[in-house]
């Protein structure tokens, strides 16, 4: 049926375009009802960012260089987080080939986070609040998580669903570029591109074939579905 053909969602992140501006971080939080944990919790490393910019310094002053890399759940095809969950809260969806988190199954063992090489999972150590009327902006398509629950990037599955439903109503397949996760949509330099790998004409497929492409920590055998394009530097 139109709109339900086999899909494999992948993301391409061009690190040569990425400036590290963090617009994706804020956009993700606003779309996905990610709680703000406050200064103290963040100081203890309990911030809830589903996507973060990993920042490296290279070289010594004055030849010092900064590199950044947006990091989120890589939606591994062979995900280390999945087999360790005792209650099948973190598992693989066959239809989308996505790594999904079922909040109402999660009992908070945090085994999955310990086993994630990308440190992509965040844990609700407390119940966080959106004081009235700030709760008005909460996205009705996304569950608000409570204390004791593990959460992570979903590739904005609610947006994938919305696009699929609209396509189905119109009796057509989902168009390339129709699904945009919040991070890709906000990105000021168009560094993040999202699409269906199965579509040979999709932009992600074309970009992923770039010689600059690599997958992060691929050697662990995780088979990530985020493809990074390495940044370049002109040497003067």
């Amino acid at each position: 049926m139109a709109g339900e053909e086999h899909t494999k969602w992948v993301m391409v992140i061009d690190l040569d375009r990425c400036t590290g501006c963090n617009a994706c971080v804020t956009a993700c939080a606003m779309e996905n009802n990610v709680a703000f944990a406050g200064e103290e919790e963040n100081a203890y490393g309990r911030g809830m960012h589903w996507i973060r910019l990993v920042r490296y310094w290279e070289g010594e002053y004055p030849e010092v260089q900064m590199r950044t890399m947006p990091m989120m759940c890589q939606q591994c095809s062979n995900a280390p987080c999945e087999p360790v969950c005792p209650v099948f809260a973190t598992l693989h969806s066959e239809a989308e080939e996505l790594n999904i988190q079922v909040y109402n199954r999660c009992i908070g063992t945090r085994y999955c986070a310990n086993n994630c090489p990308y440190i992509a999972r965040t844990f609700n150590w407390f119940d966080y609040e959106w004081p009235e009327p700030m709760n008005y902006y909460l996205n009705p398509d996304v569950t608000v998580r409570r204390r004791g629950i593990m959460e992570k990037c979903t590739f904005c599955i609610q947006r994938i669903r919305r696009a699929q439903e609209e396509a189905r109503l119109e009796g057509r397949p989902v168009r390339d570029g129709e699904v945009q996760p919040a991070c890709a949509q906000a990105c000021p330099t168009d560094a993040i591109v999202f699409g269906n790998w199965q579509d040979p004409h999709s932009k992600v497929r074309q970009l992923a074939e770039s010689q600059r492409g690599f997958k992060f920590l691929e050697e662990l055998g995780t088979e990530p579905k985020v493809i990074y394009l390495s940044s370049q530097r002109h040497e003067f």
Partner: protein, 736 residues
């Protein structure tokens, strides 16, 4: 029922059970002039429960004017997205726009009109006060102080001041000060013959040489520049643009450069001249006047920059690539010779044109041919303070700017404010200036407002960006334009005749109608109401084709001279926080929680110190220091930062609020308090000449950072915000 007397609570009461009811907005039909609340029993045809409704509007988080599309569900704004057709941002947004909903739905917003001391008043009383002020004050004693946005309110206020015979409104903000906008405009006049802030077309460039312009963060039109940056890097197959940044402190923009050159503060203009001389030498032509006066080897030595790197950049620019652009901005213009420095840098473009390279500089054509009022210079602000102190200002209206927080303490604005018999603030939040206001008549936030903005920089065509409310007002606030127009009508007489608009929307529609005659826009309509509907639907009006033409650059004669500095140990760079910018939205918790790109620090102010300098002073990460300048002192925690000159420290703006709300108050420090300065040839502040001393306080205050949490556990335990204040006060009192 009047719309101002109605709250969300009333709507719920009215409808009985809240379940099937929500407040919805009727704003996109051609007949809609007013925001009305309607329960779902009379459901508007476009609003289906569970289905999103999208409204196009314009971002007001900074003065750039990017187009937004806001997703609403059942009368509530859910998500800010970029307007994919808007010529500035083409569908993208920055972090600030994303968090705008936390400003709209902020629990710390001003909830209604009140007088000094917090007593609530009715809007009638508030309008009466404004009317009395307009009527009874001698026109020369009326001053409107507005923010940087070139919007409809500035134009309406201009009309009102003209009708009254009062001085035109003064537009100012801390962002314009540290961007040295007027300096750039003055230098552009000498080089391009047009006194306006130019746009640099970096999307097409093969080589961008930026002197201190942080164009990927907050500079002028950051999303438009970021978009262009992406295109420069990877938008042209087989041709990757290269980027060189020259600045004392590695900004996020500089961190993305292929080559970052930390020239000694005050030598940037000379470096530009040396680069020009080297380029002329490579091209084998005689260097024009300003470039001939410098010796590149000497400049390289004085600037502590390797000559070889300058030579390589010059050779690359002249021999290897076609399209080169040089842009000045930010901290390198913050000296008393800032105009000359800017001219020297812009003159590089003139030289490159002489060497046969195309011009990559243009001026955004003003929408409808109407040039927005230029922002005030620091000099004009000083004059205003003098007039306030002399008792010449009788009524001061403040909108879109928070002077008590944003203006340098050394200006003495706070004290001068006490001498003004009537201060009226229109701030949407209870900010630092509100306690000084006799009346606080809060405006809507931009997502509840009507309006338009003439895009001044960053667009290659005329853009009139439109706003419309995406939700009904959350609190009992009222559009400032409506308040002013109601007051004008109350005054009546000649004033009401000259400013004949019934309300804000009528004023906007009249201005928008002028574009209906144009046949080069993205849409046409014969009927004004249809045109208005199209204007709202598209989020503004702009021309179909790009109309900006490349500006021809001259090589002016310029004497750069020496930059002057205060006495002190270390240079100080005060920069707009890449996320919080000037701090106007510091009470949006997700802006606080979004890590700074280069340090990953959240929720606080840090001071960047070079590792060697830190080692010499015995400082480590998170050590609390007192930073002392001749004009003020602040506390901040050390961040040992590898991308800064050893003789320089840097502190971000945006924190250090003493009001604004629960997430911003008493958090971090405001480095603007350290500033004090002369003015340059354009009247802008020479904010880069301040030097400071740094003193170790002997204790740690841990910064929350995304990169790691080492050191949080143990002796540097996290200090709650209220505790910090106490300890700082203890330290200060023992010093005295």
């Amino acid at each position: 029922m009047s719309r101002e007397g109605l709250t969300r609570r009333d709507v719920l009461k009215l409808a009985g059970v809240g379940g099937a009811v929500a407040a919805v907005l009727s704003g996109c039909g051609p007949m809609a002039k007013y925001v009305r609340r309607r329960p779902y029993v009379e459901q508007p045809e476009y609003a289906l429960p569970g289905k999103s409704v999208y409204f196009a509007t314009t971002c007001r988080e900074c003065p750039a004017g990017c187009g937004l599309v806001v997703r609403t569900v059942e009368g509530r704004a859910i998500k800010v997205e970029g307007n994919p057709n808007h010529p500035l941002n083409r569908g993208s947004t920055c972090a600030r726009a994303q968090a705008a909903l936390q400003g709209l739905y902020n629990p710390d917003r001003a909830r209604g009109p009140k007088v000094r001391g917090g007593k609530a008043i009715t809007w009638e009383e508030g309008i009466d006060a404004v009317a009395r002020a307009l009527q009874d004050t001698p026109p020369e004693g009326i001053v409107f102080l507005l923010g940087l946005a070139p919007d409809h309110l500035a134009e309406l206020v201009y009309e009102i001041t003209q009708a009254l015979g009062a001085p035109p409104p003064i537009r100012f903000g801390a962002l314009a000060m540290v961007e040295a906008r007027q300096t750039l405009a003055a230098a552009a006049e000498a080089v391009f013959g047009q006194k306006a802030v130019p746009t640099f077309d970096i999307a097409k460039a093969d080589l961008v040489i930026s002197f201190g312009a942080n164009f990927l963060e907050t500079w002028l039109s950051p999303v438009a520049y970021a978009k262009a940056y992406g295109a420069m890097r990877q938008g042209h197959p087989g041709r990757r643009g290269v980027f060189v940044q020259i600045e004392p402190r590695m900004s996020m923009t500089g961190a993305n450069a292929d080559l970052w050159l930390p020239a000694k503060p005050g030598t940037e203009g000379l470096v530009a001249l040396a680069l020009g001389r080297l380029m002329a030498e490579v091209a084998g032509v005689e260097a024009p006047e300003p470039f001939a006066q410098v010796d590149p080897a000497q400049v390289a030595q004085a600037a502590e920059v390797p000559l070889e790197k300058l030579e390589k950049v010059a050779r690359y620019a002249v021999q290897d690539v076609e399209r080169v652009v040089a842009l000045p901005g930010g901290v390198v213009l913050g000296y008393e010779n800032g105009v000359e420095v800017a001219q020297a840098i812009l003159a590089l473009n003139g030289l490159l044109e002489r060497l046969g390279k195309p011009s990559l500089v243009y001026f955004t054509p003003p929408a409808g041919g109407r040039e927005p009022l230029a922002p005030a210079t620091y000099k004009e602000l000083m004059d205003l303070v003098d007039r306030m102190n002399a008792g010449q200002v009788k009524a001061l209206f403040i909108h879109g700017v928070n002077p008590v927080y944003e203006f340098p303490k050394v200006l003495g604005f706070e004290e001068a404010l006490l001498k003004v018999p009537l201060v009226i603030s229109f701030a949407s939040f209870d900010d630092e200036t509100v306690p000084y206001a006799h009346y606080h008549l809060p405006d809507h936030t931009f997502l509840e407002s009507w309006g338009y903005q003439r895009v001044q920089v960053g667009a290659d065509r005329e853009v009139l960006s439109g706003f419309q409310p995406v939700v009904v007002p959350v609190f009992d606030t009222r559009a400032t334009a409506d308040v002013l127009l109601a007051a004008v009508q109350k005054v009546g007489g000649a004033l009401a005749e000259q400013v004949p608009y019934k309300n804000e929307v009528e004023f906007i529609q009249k201005q928008v109608a002028e574009f209906q005659k144009r046949n080069d826009g993205i849409y046409q309509a014969a009927h004004p109401k249809v045109f208005w509907a199209l204007f709202l639907q598209h989020g503004g009006w702009w021309t179909q084709e790009a109309t900006a033409t490349p500006a021809q650059a001259q090589v002016p004669t310029v004497q750069v001279g020496e930059a002057k500095f205060d006495r002190g140990e270390l240079h100080l760079v005060v920069f707009p926080h890449p996320i919080l910018a000037d701090g106007a939205s510091a009470n949006n918790p997700w802006l606080q929680e979004t890590p700074d790109p280069t340090t990953t620090v959240m929720w606080n102010t840090w001071v960047e110190v070079h590792p060697e300098t830190a080692a010499q002073m015995g400082l480590e990460n998170d050590d609390l220091v007192l930073i002392d300048s001749p004009y003020g002192a602040i506390f901040a925690s050390v961040y040992v930062y590898p991308g800064i000159r050893p003789d320089t420290i840097a502190i971000p703006m945006g924190q250090g609020h003493t009001a604004l709300g629960r997430w911003a108050k008493n958090r971090g420090a405001n480095p603007i308090d350290l500033l004090g300065f002369g003015v340059n040839g354009a009247g802008d502040a020479a904010f880069g000449q301040v030097r400071v001393t740094v003193r170790k306080m002997g204790r740690r205050q841990v910064l929350a950072r995304k990169e790691n949490t080492v050191g949080v556990y143990g002796d540097g335990r996290y200090q709650p915000v209220d505790k910090r204040k106490e300890e700082e006060e203890k330290v200060t009192s023992t010093q005295e």
